[in-house]
Amino acid sequence: MSDTTQTLPKAGKTLSGGRIDLLIAALLLAMAIAAPFVIESRYMMGQLILGLFWASVAVQWNLLFGYAGVFSLGQMAVFAVGGYATAMLAYYLDLNIFLAIAAGAVIATVFSALVGLACLRLQGVYVALLTYAIAQVIYLLIVTDTNCFEMVGTTCRQFTGGATGFARFGDFGMRAILKGDWIKGNYAIVLGCFVLSMLVSWIILHGPMGLAFKALRDNQAYAVARGINRFHTQLLVFGLSAFFTGMTGGLYATHFQAIGPGIFSISSLLFILAIAVVGGVGTFWGPVVGTIVLMVADELMREVGSFRSIGLGLIIAFAVVALPRGLVGRFSDIFHKHKS
């Protein structure tokens, strides 16, 4: 039996752990910065941006589940709230897109805190169901919305965008500046926001709040006895993870210049969960590694044509079975074994 609690007793090694994190971060960042200078393919740049989106959402979900032990299935709903809020603010109020993204992140935070409030007394799978039910209600009410809010040309538009969603509410403005290389501009913005979210997450996880999360996850009764306020901590983690998830949602909507109800789909949610689990739940780099692995696997699977989905499903199942602590957990096991 081995589990993620291993990170706790090794407190004495945080310094070296921090140094390793720094090293990995520097390496990844260097590669990420070099990418647009090396890669010419717009598709590849697009995949990198998509990868940053998924990694960011998975990192934030990992913060909730891997560190705070809250098994939420509402992650894509938070993402969608951020995206929808951004789109609607920009569409209806002509808000500057960057302001809209920031506002979207705040709205997502408030939404998520409310969900957190509802989940307060629940455990494990019950949290999963509640968060999922909330996400599903929002989705269903949006897609079945048929009331005309305004007429656009000859067709009616629902306030929520209905089954169609929103498009053309503004973009980063990179097409005007960079012309054909606009995607590299988008990449720079998305990368910047991603780095910011990783930085904040790292600081939080290595601060007193991070310890409180872990304590609640590993032994709730003990943590509460030690004076950790479950109510505050849980709300905080819901809100915190939601801020960056919502922001990513806004960036996503702006990059693709579209947001629609499809984003609530269970398949994108499960892809996020798979990323975190394959990479390593409860490890800082797990979701990032998981994103890289799954996106590369997906890319390779495209070569086998119609067997792609079968292969991808099997890869996910195999990864979970063969790597019970995820790739990063497996690496760190090997690493620690070598050290001791």
Partner: protein, 294 residues
């Protein structure tokens, strides 16, 4: 009156389908703490098995239904041997999430394998009953009656199996206290295998019934599974009678709301009800307080 009968017919039929989907899911969840996300794909497998045996091979339909149960059971066994067994040993406290993700992977593969074999065009399910009978002015199709009957019979059979046989006792004992069951000499791993096989068989039959309404497409299990997931959690951990009650109750409410408020409100209202129930009773309506760790 006419409307009441329509609502009751829909509610009971959906309730029977949900209940059958739910007990398969709940059985596995209750005894091993595993949410089997491939359950929906097993439903689809059952539906297509009937098609292959009855339509393609031309064998009698009752034999085909047995084959569907067999195919489901076999899939359950394979799922246990290839995925669940090693996760139980290695995943530790992450078992709940790991097994969810792994079975999601299996489900994606299985669905797409069905797509490759049978193609994506919907196929006609050979299991079906035509005709209808009248109650006053309203008409109730025989198919709905058959669905309700078959589902009740399967559930009764399962209840007998669980409560009266040695295997059933072992399953219940394992669900209620895994360590104690081990000390009594119950081969817990074999019990898990039996549970998954049993649940697979129920899923196979459930798939036949579901597809007699929806017809065959590789994604036919997705919707019933989602509903079953909800019923299962609302009822509370592994509570089979509770799951059945929740399935029928919620299906009735859904049908009533669909008529009263409009079809678009059916599922959302049901979900809001679920949210309210969970906030009010954090362990479901009839739930045990704790998930027993593996």
């Amino acid at each position: 009156m006419d409307i009441l009968i329509a609502i009751i017919t829909t509610g009971l039929t959906n309730g029977a389908l949900y209940a059958l989907a739910t007990i398969g899911l709940s059985l596995v969840w209750g005894s091993m703490g595993m949410l089997n996300m491939a359950h929906g794909a097993l439903l689809a497998l059952g539906g297509y098995a009937v098609f292959s045996v009855a339509t393609t091979l031309g064998l009698p339909v009752w034999l085909a239904v047995l084959a569907a149960a067999g195919a489901g059971a076999l899939a359950g066994v394979i799922l246990y041997i290839c995925v669940v067994r090693s996760l139980i040993r290695t995943a530790g406290k992450n078992f709940e999430t790991s097994v969810m993700i792994a079975t999601v992977g299996i489900s994606i593969s299985l669905q797409n394998a069905l797509l490759q074999v049978y193609g994506g065009q919907p196929l006609k399910q050979p299991f079906g009953v035509s005709g209808a009978f009248r109650i006053g002015d309203s008409v109730v199709p025989w198919l709905n009656v058959v669905i309700i009957l078959v589902s009740v019979v399967v559930m009764l059979g399962l209840a007998l199996l669980i409560s009266r046989t040695r295997m059933g006792r072992a399953i219940r004992a394992t669900a209620q206290n895994r360590e104690a069951a081990l000390l009594m000499g119950v081969a817990v791993e074999r019990t898990y295998l039996q549970v998954l096989a049993l649940s697979g068989a129920v899923a196979g039959i459930c798939g036949v019934l579901v597809s007699s309404v929806t017809q065959l497409s590789p994604t036919l299990g997705a919707d019933p599974m989602l509903k079953a997931f909800i019923m299962c959690v609302v009822a509370g951990l592994g509570n089979l009678p509770g799951a059945v009650a929740a399935a029928f109750g919620l299906a009735m409410i859904e049908a009533g709301v669909q008529f009263g408020m409009g079809a678009r409100w059916g599922f959302p209202v049901l979900l809001m009800l679920v949210i309210a129930i969970l906030i009010w009773r954090p362990n479901g309506l009839f739930g045990r307080a704790q998930i027993r760790r593996m």
